[in-house]
Protein backbone atom coordinates (compact mmCIF):
# COMPACT_ATOMS: atom_id res chain seq x y z
CA UNK A 1 0.00 0.00 0.00
CA UNK A 2 1.19 3.46 -0.91
CA UNK A 3 0.87 6.25 1.67
CA UNK A 4 0.65 9.90 0.65
CA UNK A 5 1.58 12.55 3.23
CA UNK A 6 0.84 16.25 2.84
CA UNK A 7 3.32 18.67 4.38
CA UNK A 8 3.09 22.42 4.63
CA UNK A 9 5.83 24.98 5.06
CA UNK A 10 4.89 27.36 7.87
CA UNK A 11 6.50 29.70 10.36
CA UNK A 12 8.45 27.82 13.06
CA UNK A 13 6.09 27.28 15.97
CA UNK A 14 8.48 28.91 18.42
CA UNK A 15 8.67 32.21 16.57
CA UNK A 16 6.70 35.16 17.86
CA UNK A 17 5.10 36.71 14.79
CA UNK A 18 4.93 40.40 13.85
CA UNK A 19 2.19 42.09 11.88
CA UNK A 20 3.38 44.28 8.98
CA UNK A 21 3.15 48.02 9.56
CA UNK A 22 0.65 48.43 6.70
CA UNK A 23 -1.58 45.72 8.23
CA UNK A 24 -1.56 43.76 4.97
CA UNK A 25 -0.33 40.50 6.50
CA UNK A 26 2.07 38.94 8.95
CA UNK A 27 5.72 39.80 8.31
CA UNK A 28 7.61 36.69 7.24
CA UNK A 29 10.84 38.29 6.06
CA UNK A 30 13.84 36.60 7.67
CA UNK A 31 11.59 34.51 9.85
CA UNK A 32 12.53 30.91 10.57
CA UNK A 33 10.29 28.54 8.62
CA UNK A 34 9.71 24.85 9.26
CA UNK A 35 7.46 21.92 8.55
CA UNK A 36 4.07 22.34 10.23
CA UNK A 37 4.29 20.31 13.49
CA UNK A 38 1.19 18.26 12.65
CA UNK A 39 2.76 17.37 9.30
CA UNK A 40 5.89 16.10 11.05
CA UNK A 41 3.59 13.78 12.93
CA UNK A 42 1.95 12.74 9.65
CA UNK A 43 5.32 11.92 8.09
CA UNK A 44 6.38 10.00 11.19
CA UNK A 45 3.20 7.92 11.12
CA UNK A 46 3.66 7.11 7.44
CA UNK A 47 7.29 6.11 7.98
CA UNK A 48 6.32 3.89 10.90
CA UNK A 49 3.72 2.19 8.70
CA UNK A 50 6.49 1.48 6.23
CA UNK A 51 8.78 0.16 8.97
CA UNK A 52 5.98 -2.15 10.09
CA UNK A 53 5.65 -3.47 6.55
CA UNK A 54 2.14 -2.04 6.14
CA UNK A 55 3.15 0.68 3.70
CA UNK A 56 5.34 -0.10 0.71
CA UNK A 57 6.02 3.47 -0.36
CA UNK A 58 5.72 6.88 1.30
CA UNK A 59 5.21 9.89 -0.96
CA UNK A 60 5.45 13.41 0.51
CA UNK A 61 3.59 16.24 -1.19
CA UNK A 62 3.52 19.99 -0.75
CA UNK A 63 1.74 22.83 -2.50
CA UNK A 64 3.57 26.11 -2.26
CA UNK A 65 6.53 28.24 -3.27
CA UNK A 66 9.92 26.94 -4.40
CA UNK A 67 11.28 27.25 -0.87
CA UNK A 68 8.81 24.61 0.34
CA UNK A 69 11.11 22.04 -1.25
CA UNK A 70 13.11 22.36 1.98
CA UNK A 71 10.24 20.76 3.84
CA UNK A 72 9.98 18.02 1.22
CA UNK A 73 13.69 17.31 1.70
CA UNK A 74 13.06 17.10 5.42
CA UNK A 75 10.27 14.58 4.80
CA UNK A 76 12.64 12.58 2.59
CA UNK A 77 15.30 12.67 5.30
CA UNK A 78 12.76 11.39 7.79
CA UNK A 79 12.05 8.39 5.59
CA UNK A 80 9.71 9.31 2.73
CA UNK A 81 10.72 7.61 -0.52
CA UNK A 82 9.92 10.37 -2.97
CA UNK A 83 8.33 13.78 -3.11
CA UNK A 84 6.03 15.83 -5.29
CA UNK A 85 6.13 19.61 -5.28
CA UNK A 86 3.14 21.45 -6.69
CA UNK A 87 4.73 24.82 -7.20
CA UNK A 88 2.68 27.97 -6.73
CA UNK A 89 3.53 31.44 -5.53
CA UNK A 90 -0.09 32.32 -4.86
CA UNK A 91 -1.61 32.45 -1.40
CA UNK A 92 -2.78 28.84 -1.21
CA UNK A 93 -5.30 27.97 1.47
CA UNK A 94 -6.87 24.68 2.42
CA UNK A 95 -9.33 24.30 -0.47
CA UNK A 96 -6.69 25.01 -3.09
CA UNK A 97 -4.26 22.60 -1.45
CA UNK A 98 -7.00 19.96 -1.18
CA UNK A 99 -7.79 20.31 -4.89
CA UNK A 100 -4.18 19.72 -5.87
CA UNK A 101 -3.92 16.83 -3.42
CA UNK A 102 -7.15 15.31 -4.77
CA UNK A 103 -5.68 15.23 -8.27
CA UNK A 104 -2.53 13.56 -6.95
CA UNK A 105 -4.64 10.98 -5.11
CA UNK A 106 -6.29 10.19 -8.42
CA UNK A 107 -2.90 9.82 -10.13
CA UNK A 108 -1.09 7.97 -7.36
CA UNK A 109 -3.92 5.80 -5.96
CA UNK A 110 -2.60 5.65 -2.37
CA UNK A 111 -4.24 3.36 0.20
CA UNK A 112 -4.00 6.04 2.87
CA UNK A 113 -3.44 9.79 2.90
CA UNK A 114 -2.18 11.41 6.09
CA UNK A 115 -2.35 15.17 6.71
CA UNK A 116 -1.90 17.36 9.75
CA UNK A 117 -5.09 18.36 11.50
CA UNK A 118 -4.28 22.04 11.18
CA UNK A 119 -1.66 24.34 9.76
CA UNK A 120 -0.38 26.59 12.53
CA UNK A 121 -0.26 29.68 10.32
CA UNK A 122 -3.86 29.96 9.14
CA UNK A 123 -5.15 27.63 11.89
CA UNK A 124 -7.71 26.51 9.29
CA UNK A 125 -8.17 22.83 10.14
CA UNK A 126 -9.87 22.03 6.83
CA UNK A 127 -7.65 20.46 4.18
CA UNK A 128 -7.99 16.79 5.20
CA UNK A 129 -11.77 16.98 5.43
CA UNK A 130 -11.91 18.80 2.08
CA UNK A 131 -9.65 16.27 0.42
CA UNK A 132 -11.92 13.51 1.72
CA UNK A 133 -14.94 15.25 0.20
CA UNK A 134 -13.24 15.88 -3.15
CA UNK A 135 -12.05 12.29 -3.48
CA UNK A 136 -15.23 10.79 -2.04
CA UNK A 137 -13.18 8.95 0.58
CA UNK A 138 -13.96 8.47 4.27
CA UNK A 139 -12.16 10.60 6.84
CA UNK A 140 -10.89 10.31 10.38
CA UNK A 141 -9.70 13.63 11.76
CA UNK A 142 -7.65 14.38 14.93
CA UNK A 143 -6.13 10.89 15.13
CA UNK A 144 -4.31 9.76 18.24
CA UNK A 145 -4.01 6.13 17.12
CA UNK A 146 -4.04 4.54 13.66
CA UNK A 147 -4.24 0.79 13.00
CA UNK A 148 -4.32 -0.53 9.46
CA UNK A 149 -5.56 -4.06 8.79
CA UNK A 150 -5.76 -5.93 5.50
CA UNK A 151 -4.91 -4.45 2.17
CA UNK A 152 -6.38 -3.96 -1.27
CA UNK A 153 -10.15 -4.11 -1.57
CA UNK A 154 -10.93 -5.27 1.98
CA UNK A 155 -8.39 -3.09 3.78
CA UNK A 156 -9.56 -1.13 6.81
CA UNK A 157 -8.15 1.39 9.20
CA UNK A 158 -9.23 1.88 12.80
CA UNK A 159 -8.60 5.35 14.07
CA UNK A 160 -8.96 6.72 17.59
CA UNK A 161 -9.88 10.41 17.43
CA UNK A 162 -9.48 13.16 20.01
CA UNK A 163 -12.90 14.77 20.34
CA UNK A 164 -14.22 17.39 22.74
CA UNK A 165 -15.75 14.86 25.12
CA UNK A 166 -12.87 12.35 25.09
CA UNK A 167 -11.96 9.72 22.50
CA UNK A 168 -13.86 8.15 19.62
CA UNK A 169 -12.88 5.13 17.56
CA UNK A 170 -13.97 4.74 13.94
CA UNK A 171 -13.33 2.15 11.30
CA UNK A 172 -12.89 3.33 7.73
CA UNK A 173 -12.71 1.36 4.51
CA UNK A 174 -9.45 1.98 2.64
CA UNK A 175 -8.50 4.12 0.86
CA UNK A 176 -9.08 6.75 3.53
CA UNK A 177 -7.97 10.16 4.74
CA UNK A 178 -6.53 10.65 8.23
CA UNK A 179 -5.48 13.87 9.97
CA UNK A 180 -3.08 13.81 12.90
CA UNK A 181 -3.36 15.14 16.43
CA UNK A 182 -0.36 15.83 18.65
CA UNK A 183 -0.45 12.60 20.61
CA UNK A 184 -0.36 10.25 17.61
CA UNK A 185 3.41 9.85 17.87
CA UNK A 186 6.60 11.64 18.69
CA UNK A 187 8.41 12.50 15.45
CA UNK A 188 12.07 11.51 15.14
CA UNK A 189 14.84 13.92 14.20
CA UNK A 190 16.54 13.55 10.85
CA UNK A 191 20.09 12.20 11.12
CA UNK A 192 22.88 13.75 9.09
CA UNK A 193 23.48 10.72 6.82
CA UNK A 194 19.74 10.64 6.09
CA UNK A 195 19.77 14.32 5.25
CA UNK A 196 22.59 13.63 2.77
CA UNK A 197 20.71 10.66 1.28
CA UNK A 198 17.53 12.72 0.99
CA UNK A 199 19.25 15.00 -1.50
CA UNK A 200 19.38 12.13 -3.97
CA UNK A 201 15.80 10.97 -3.57
CA UNK A 202 13.40 11.83 -6.40
CA UNK A 203 11.49 15.11 -6.18
CA UNK A 204 9.00 15.84 -8.97
CA UNK A 205 7.90 19.38 -9.66
CA UNK A 206 4.46 20.06 -11.13
CA UNK A 207 2.33 23.15 -11.54
CA UNK A 208 -1.33 23.52 -10.67
CA UNK A 209 -1.90 23.88 -14.43
CA UNK A 210 -0.29 20.45 -14.99
CA UNK A 211 -2.84 19.05 -12.58
CA UNK A 212 -5.64 21.11 -14.07
CA UNK A 213 -6.55 22.77 -10.79
CA UNK A 214 -6.92 26.29 -9.48
CA UNK A 215 -5.20 26.71 -6.11
CA UNK A 216 -5.41 30.44 -5.33
CA UNK A 217 -7.51 31.30 -2.31
CA UNK A 218 -11.01 32.67 -2.82
CA UNK A 219 -10.98 34.29 0.58
CA UNK A 220 -9.62 37.82 0.43
CA UNK A 221 -7.32 38.88 3.23
CA UNK A 222 -8.42 42.46 3.84
CA UNK A 223 -6.45 43.29 6.92
CA UNK A 224 -4.26 41.77 9.62
CA UNK A 225 -3.93 43.34 13.04
CA UNK A 226 -2.19 42.45 16.25
CA UNK A 227 -4.64 41.24 18.91
CA UNK A 228 -5.64 43.53 21.74
CA UNK A 229 -2.70 43.36 24.13
CA UNK A 230 -3.48 42.35 27.67
CA UNK A 231 -2.16 44.76 30.23
CA UNK A 232 0.28 42.93 32.46
CA UNK A 233 -1.09 42.81 35.97
CA UNK A 234 0.55 42.76 39.35
CA UNK A 235 2.31 40.20 41.49
CA UNK A 236 0.70 39.43 44.80
CA UNK A 237 2.78 38.49 47.82
CA UNK A 238 0.61 35.84 49.40
CA UNK A 239 -2.45 33.66 49.01
CA UNK A 240 -4.31 36.02 51.37
CA UNK A 241 -3.57 38.98 49.14
CA UNK A 242 -4.67 36.98 46.09
CA UNK A 243 -8.01 36.06 47.63
CA UNK A 244 -8.52 39.63 48.77
CA UNK A 245 -7.84 41.04 45.28
CA UNK A 246 -10.11 38.51 43.61
CA UNK A 247 -12.91 39.34 46.04
CA UNK A 248 -12.62 43.08 46.39
CA UNK A 249 -10.80 44.37 43.31
CA UNK A 250 -11.66 41.98 40.47
CA UNK A 251 -14.92 40.96 42.15
CA UNK A 252 -14.87 37.52 40.60
CA UNK A 253 -15.31 35.52 43.82
Amino acid sequence: MKVLVAVKRVIDYNVKIRVKADNSDVDLTNVKMAMNPFCEIAVEEAVRLKEKGVATEVVAVTVGPKAAQEQLRTALALGADRAIHVESDERVESLGAAKALAKLVEDEQPGLVILGKQAIDTDNNQAGQMLAALTGLPQATFASEVNVSGDGGDGKVQVTREIDGGLQTLELALPAIVTTDLRLNEPRYAKLPDIMKAKKKPLDVKTPADLGVEVASRVKLLRVEPPAERQGGIKVGSVDELVDKLKNEAKVL
Binding site: A98, P226, K245, A250, V252
Partner: protein, 308 residues
Protein backbone atom coordinates in the same frame (compact mmCIF):
# COMPACT_ATOMS: atom_id res chain seq x y z
CA UNK B 1 -30.77 35.46 2.67
CA UNK B 2 -31.23 32.55 5.08
CA UNK B 3 -28.74 30.98 7.41
CA UNK B 4 -28.49 27.33 8.40
CA UNK B 5 -27.03 26.64 11.84
CA UNK B 6 -25.91 23.10 12.65
CA UNK B 7 -27.01 22.23 16.19
CA UNK B 8 -24.44 20.71 18.52
CA UNK B 9 -25.76 18.06 20.87
CA UNK B 10 -24.68 15.20 23.11
CA UNK B 11 -26.58 12.51 24.95
CA UNK B 12 -29.92 13.77 23.70
CA UNK B 13 -29.39 17.34 24.94
CA UNK B 14 -28.70 20.54 23.03
CA UNK B 15 -25.17 21.77 23.78
CA UNK B 16 -24.63 25.32 24.99
CA UNK B 17 -22.45 26.07 21.97
CA UNK B 18 -25.48 26.29 19.67
CA UNK B 19 -26.84 29.44 21.36
CA UNK B 20 -23.51 31.15 20.61
CA UNK B 21 -23.61 30.10 16.96
CA UNK B 22 -27.18 31.42 16.65
CA UNK B 23 -25.86 34.71 18.06
CA UNK B 24 -23.29 34.81 15.25
CA UNK B 25 -26.07 34.09 12.76
CA UNK B 26 -28.07 37.01 14.17
CA UNK B 27 -25.05 39.25 13.72
CA UNK B 28 -24.96 38.24 10.04
CA UNK B 29 -28.69 38.89 9.73
CA UNK B 30 -31.43 36.94 7.94
CA UNK B 31 -33.80 34.07 8.65
CA UNK B 32 -32.20 31.47 10.86
CA UNK B 33 -32.92 27.76 10.55
CA UNK B 34 -31.35 25.23 12.88
CA UNK B 35 -30.53 21.74 11.64
CA UNK B 36 -30.69 18.99 14.23
CA UNK B 37 -29.28 15.72 12.89
CA UNK B 38 -28.89 12.58 14.94
CA UNK B 39 -30.82 9.64 16.29
CA UNK B 40 -33.46 10.17 18.96
CA UNK B 41 -33.09 13.95 18.91
CA UNK B 42 -36.66 15.15 19.51
CA UNK B 43 -35.68 16.82 22.78
CA UNK B 44 -32.74 18.53 21.09
CA UNK B 45 -35.05 19.90 18.41
CA UNK B 46 -37.45 21.19 21.00
CA UNK B 47 -34.65 22.96 22.87
CA UNK B 48 -33.34 24.46 19.62
CA UNK B 49 -36.84 25.73 18.78
CA UNK B 50 -36.77 27.66 22.03
CA UNK B 51 -33.66 29.66 21.16
CA UNK B 52 -34.18 33.32 20.56
CA UNK B 53 -34.01 34.27 16.88
CA UNK B 54 -34.55 30.81 15.42
CA UNK B 55 -37.19 30.75 12.69
CA UNK B 56 -37.41 27.05 11.99
CA UNK B 57 -35.86 23.82 13.22
CA UNK B 58 -35.24 21.10 10.65
CA UNK B 59 -34.79 17.65 12.10
CA UNK B 60 -33.09 14.68 10.48
CA UNK B 61 -33.77 11.95 13.03
CA UNK B 62 -32.30 8.76 11.68
CA UNK B 63 -29.80 6.05 12.61
CA UNK B 64 -27.70 7.27 9.67
CA UNK B 65 -26.80 10.36 11.69
CA UNK B 66 -26.08 8.63 14.99
CA UNK B 67 -22.63 9.68 16.27
CA UNK B 68 -22.63 12.47 13.67
CA UNK B 69 -20.14 10.77 11.36
CA UNK B 70 -18.67 13.20 8.86
CA UNK B 71 -19.67 11.40 5.67
CA UNK B 72 -23.47 11.24 6.16
CA UNK B 73 -23.58 14.58 8.03
CA UNK B 74 -21.78 16.41 5.24
CA UNK B 75 -23.94 14.75 2.60
CA UNK B 76 -27.07 15.88 4.44
CA UNK B 77 -25.93 19.47 4.91
CA UNK B 78 -24.71 19.72 1.31
CA UNK B 79 -28.17 18.50 0.23
CA UNK B 80 -29.83 21.34 2.16
CA UNK B 81 -27.23 24.04 1.53
CA UNK B 82 -28.65 25.40 -1.73
CA UNK B 83 -31.48 27.03 0.22
CA UNK B 84 -29.03 29.11 2.23
CA UNK B 85 -26.44 31.86 1.93
CA UNK B 86 -24.58 30.77 5.04
CA UNK B 87 -23.99 27.50 6.86
CA UNK B 88 -22.67 27.86 10.41
CA UNK B 89 -21.48 25.45 13.07
CA UNK B 90 -19.55 25.74 16.30
CA UNK B 91 -15.78 25.39 16.01
CA UNK B 92 -16.03 22.25 18.14
CA UNK B 93 -14.37 18.98 17.15
CA UNK B 94 -17.70 18.03 15.63
CA UNK B 95 -18.17 21.24 13.63
CA UNK B 96 -14.54 21.17 12.52
CA UNK B 97 -14.92 17.59 11.39
CA UNK B 98 -18.05 18.07 9.30
CA UNK B 99 -18.12 21.60 7.89
CA UNK B 100 -14.96 21.61 5.73
CA UNK B 101 -16.32 18.48 4.10
CA UNK B 102 -19.53 20.37 3.31
CA UNK B 103 -17.56 23.32 1.94
CA UNK B 104 -15.56 21.13 -0.43
CA UNK B 105 -18.71 19.29 -1.58
CA UNK B 106 -20.11 22.71 -2.52
CA UNK B 107 -16.76 23.85 -3.96
CA UNK B 108 -16.45 26.83 -1.62
CA UNK B 109 -13.84 27.89 0.92
CA UNK B 110 -14.52 27.63 4.63
CA UNK B 111 -13.91 30.45 7.06
CA UNK B 112 -12.80 28.88 10.32
CA UNK B 113 -13.38 30.11 13.87
CA UNK B 114 -14.79 33.57 13.29
CA UNK B 115 -14.82 35.84 16.35
CA UNK B 116 -16.67 38.81 14.80
CA UNK B 117 -19.00 39.63 11.93
CA UNK B 118 -18.13 42.79 9.98
CA UNK B 119 -20.74 42.29 7.28
CA UNK B 120 -22.50 39.26 5.77
CA UNK B 121 -19.38 38.39 3.78
CA UNK B 122 -16.61 39.79 5.97
CA UNK B 123 -15.42 38.32 9.24
CA UNK B 124 -12.65 38.50 11.81
CA UNK B 125 -10.73 35.42 12.81
CA UNK B 126 -7.57 34.72 14.76
CA UNK B 127 -4.57 33.30 12.89
CA UNK B 128 -1.10 32.23 14.08
CA UNK B 129 -2.41 30.97 17.42
CA UNK B 130 -4.26 34.21 18.02
CA UNK B 131 -1.16 36.35 17.60
CA UNK B 132 -2.84 38.15 14.74
CA UNK B 133 -6.44 38.87 13.85
CA UNK B 134 -7.33 38.66 10.18
CA UNK B 135 -10.27 40.37 8.52
CA UNK B 136 -11.31 38.17 5.62
CA UNK B 137 -13.89 38.46 2.90
CA UNK B 138 -15.49 35.48 1.22
CA UNK B 139 -16.05 35.66 -2.53
CA UNK B 140 -18.19 32.54 -2.58
CA UNK B 141 -21.98 32.64 -2.93
CA UNK B 142 -22.31 30.15 -0.08
CA UNK B 143 -20.40 30.99 3.07
CA UNK B 144 -19.43 28.00 5.19
CA UNK B 145 -18.28 29.17 8.60
CA UNK B 146 -17.28 27.77 11.97
CA UNK B 147 -17.82 30.03 14.96
CA UNK B 148 -15.58 30.41 17.99
CA UNK B 149 -18.21 30.37 20.70
CA UNK B 150 -16.27 32.68 23.02
CA UNK B 151 -16.60 35.41 20.38
CA UNK B 152 -20.39 35.69 20.64
CA UNK B 153 -22.64 35.95 23.70
CA UNK B 154 -25.24 33.21 23.72
CA UNK B 155 -28.78 34.13 22.66
CA UNK B 156 -31.44 33.60 25.28
CA UNK B 157 -34.51 31.44 25.26
CA UNK B 158 -38.08 32.37 24.61
CA UNK B 159 -38.33 31.50 20.94
CA UNK B 160 -41.00 29.18 19.61
CA UNK B 161 -39.85 28.09 16.20
CA UNK B 162 -41.67 25.48 14.16
CA UNK B 163 -40.13 22.05 13.84
CA UNK B 164 -40.16 20.13 10.55
CA UNK B 165 -38.80 16.72 9.68
CA UNK B 166 -36.33 16.08 6.86
CA UNK B 167 -36.55 12.67 5.28
CA UNK B 168 -33.31 12.75 3.31
CA UNK B 169 -31.20 9.80 4.45
CA UNK B 170 -27.54 9.77 3.47
CA UNK B 171 -26.16 6.31 2.97
CA UNK B 172 -22.73 5.55 4.27
CA UNK B 173 -20.83 2.32 3.85
CA UNK B 174 -17.40 3.87 4.23
CA UNK B 175 -17.13 4.63 7.93
CA UNK B 176 -18.36 2.80 11.01
CA UNK B 177 -18.58 3.95 14.59
CA UNK B 178 -16.76 1.54 16.90
CA UNK B 179 -16.75 3.13 20.33
CA UNK B 180 -16.48 6.27 22.39
CA UNK B 181 -14.72 6.81 25.70
CA UNK B 182 -16.16 9.98 27.10
CA UNK B 183 -14.86 11.62 30.23
CA UNK B 184 -17.43 11.59 33.01
CA UNK B 185 -17.53 14.68 35.13
CA UNK B 186 -19.98 16.48 37.39
CA UNK B 187 -18.17 19.71 36.72
CA UNK B 188 -19.33 22.36 34.26
CA UNK B 189 -18.18 21.99 30.68
CA UNK B 190 -14.82 23.72 30.01
CA UNK B 191 -16.16 25.93 27.25
CA UNK B 192 -19.11 27.14 29.33
CA UNK B 193 -17.66 27.41 32.85
CA UNK B 194 -17.47 30.81 34.56
CA UNK B 195 -14.29 29.74 36.34
CA UNK B 196 -11.56 27.47 34.98
CA UNK B 197 -8.67 26.09 37.02
CA UNK B 198 -5.92 24.57 34.85
CA UNK B 199 -2.81 22.61 35.69
CA UNK B 200 0.36 22.15 33.69
CA UNK B 201 3.48 20.05 33.74
CA UNK B 202 4.32 21.65 37.09
CA UNK B 203 1.57 19.53 38.69
CA UNK B 204 4.04 16.64 38.51
CA UNK B 205 1.51 13.83 38.06
CA UNK B 206 -2.18 13.07 37.60
CA UNK B 207 -2.75 12.38 41.27
CA UNK B 208 -1.77 15.96 42.13
CA UNK B 209 -4.64 17.29 40.00
CA UNK B 210 -6.73 16.50 43.10
CA UNK B 211 -5.27 19.71 44.50
CA UNK B 212 -7.07 21.55 41.70
CA UNK B 213 -10.27 19.58 42.21
CA UNK B 214 -10.56 20.92 45.74
CA UNK B 215 -10.41 24.49 44.49
CA UNK B 216 -12.67 23.78 41.53
CA UNK B 217 -15.27 22.33 43.89
CA UNK B 218 -15.31 25.51 45.94
CA UNK B 219 -15.56 27.76 42.88
CA UNK B 220 -17.91 25.62 40.80
CA UNK B 221 -15.11 25.60 38.24
CA UNK B 222 -14.14 23.38 35.33
CA UNK B 223 -10.66 21.87 35.39
CA UNK B 224 -8.39 22.29 32.37
CA UNK B 225 -4.81 21.45 31.51
CA UNK B 226 -1.89 22.38 29.30
CA UNK B 227 -0.85 20.14 26.46
CA UNK B 228 2.25 19.11 28.41
CA UNK B 229 0.04 17.75 31.19
CA UNK B 230 -2.03 15.85 28.62
CA UNK B 231 1.03 14.50 26.81
CA UNK B 232 2.58 13.37 30.08
CA UNK B 233 -0.58 11.36 30.69
CA UNK B 234 -1.59 13.29 33.84
CA UNK B 235 -5.08 13.96 32.47
CA UNK B 236 -7.18 13.10 29.40
CA UNK B 237 -7.07 15.12 26.19
CA UNK B 238 -10.55 16.58 26.58
CA UNK B 239 -9.10 18.87 29.27
CA UNK B 240 -6.56 20.55 26.98
CA UNK B 241 -6.80 24.30 26.64
CA UNK B 242 -5.01 26.05 23.79
CA UNK B 243 -4.45 26.64 20.10
CA UNK B 244 -5.11 23.01 19.34
CA UNK B 245 -7.37 22.23 22.28
CA UNK B 246 -10.31 24.11 23.73
CA UNK B 247 -10.72 27.85 23.66
CA UNK B 248 -12.05 29.26 26.90
CA UNK B 249 -12.89 32.76 28.07
CA UNK B 250 -14.24 32.48 31.61
CA UNK B 251 -14.65 35.25 34.16
CA UNK B 252 -11.70 33.78 36.05
CA UNK B 253 -8.88 31.55 34.77
CA UNK B 254 -6.38 30.17 37.24
CA UNK B 255 -3.22 28.73 35.64
CA UNK B 256 -1.17 26.57 37.96
CA UNK B 257 2.27 25.21 37.05
CA UNK B 258 1.81 26.38 33.45
CA UNK B 259 4.65 28.33 31.82
CA UNK B 260 2.52 30.25 29.31
CA UNK B 261 3.61 29.00 25.88
CA UNK B 262 1.90 30.92 23.04
CA UNK B 263 -0.06 27.80 22.14
CA UNK B 264 -1.54 27.72 25.63
CA UNK B 265 -2.19 31.46 25.75
CA UNK B 266 -4.09 31.14 22.47
CA UNK B 267 -6.74 29.18 24.32
CA UNK B 268 -7.26 31.37 27.39
CA UNK B 269 -5.98 34.89 26.98
CA UNK B 270 -9.46 36.30 26.41
CA UNK B 271 -10.44 35.30 29.95
CA UNK B 272 -11.65 38.26 31.98
CA UNK B 273 -9.35 37.81 34.95
CA UNK B 274 -6.25 35.62 34.82
CA UNK B 275 -4.41 34.32 37.86
CA UNK B 276 -1.06 32.53 37.54
CA UNK B 277 0.62 30.46 40.20
CA UNK B 278 4.13 29.48 39.22
CA UNK B 279 7.38 29.11 41.10
CA UNK B 280 9.41 30.68 38.30
CA UNK B 281 8.97 34.44 38.44
CA UNK B 282 10.20 34.74 34.84
CA UNK B 283 7.47 32.45 33.49
CA UNK B 284 5.77 34.11 30.49
CA UNK B 285 2.33 33.38 31.92
CA UNK B 286 2.91 36.33 34.30
CA UNK B 287 2.90 38.69 31.30
CA UNK B 288 -0.79 38.02 30.75
CA UNK B 289 -1.83 37.42 34.35
CA UNK B 290 -3.78 40.09 36.22
CA UNK B 291 -2.64 38.55 39.48
CA UNK B 292 0.56 36.54 39.66
CA UNK B 293 1.65 34.55 42.67
CA UNK B 294 5.25 33.36 42.64
CA UNK B 295 5.02 30.28 44.83
CA UNK B 296 5.40 26.55 44.95
CA UNK B 297 2.01 25.20 43.97
CA UNK B 298 2.22 22.46 46.58
CA UNK B 299 2.20 25.18 49.25
CA UNK B 300 -0.14 27.63 47.55
CA UNK B 301 -2.96 25.29 46.47
CA UNK B 302 -3.84 23.80 49.88
CA UNK B 303 -3.75 27.27 51.39
CA UNK B 304 -5.91 28.70 48.63
CA UNK B 305 -8.46 25.93 49.00
CA UNK B 306 -8.67 26.58 52.69
CA UNK B 307 -9.08 30.35 52.32
CA UNK B 308 -11.74 30.33 49.65
Amino acid sequence: MSILVLAEHQDGALAGATAHVVAAAKAIGGDIDVLVAGEGVAAVAEAAAGLDGVGKVRVADNAAYAHQLAEPMAALIAELADDYGHVLAAASTSGKNVLPRVAALKDVAQISEIIAVESPDTFKRPIYAGNAIATVQSEDALKVITVRTTGFDAVGEGGSAGVEAIDFVADNSQSTFIKEELAESDRPELGAAKVVVSGGRGMGNGENFKLLDGIADKLGAAVGASRAAVDAGFVPNDMQVGQTGKIVAPELYIAVGISGAIQHLAGMKDSKVIVAINKDEEAPIFQVADYGLVADLFDALPELEQKL
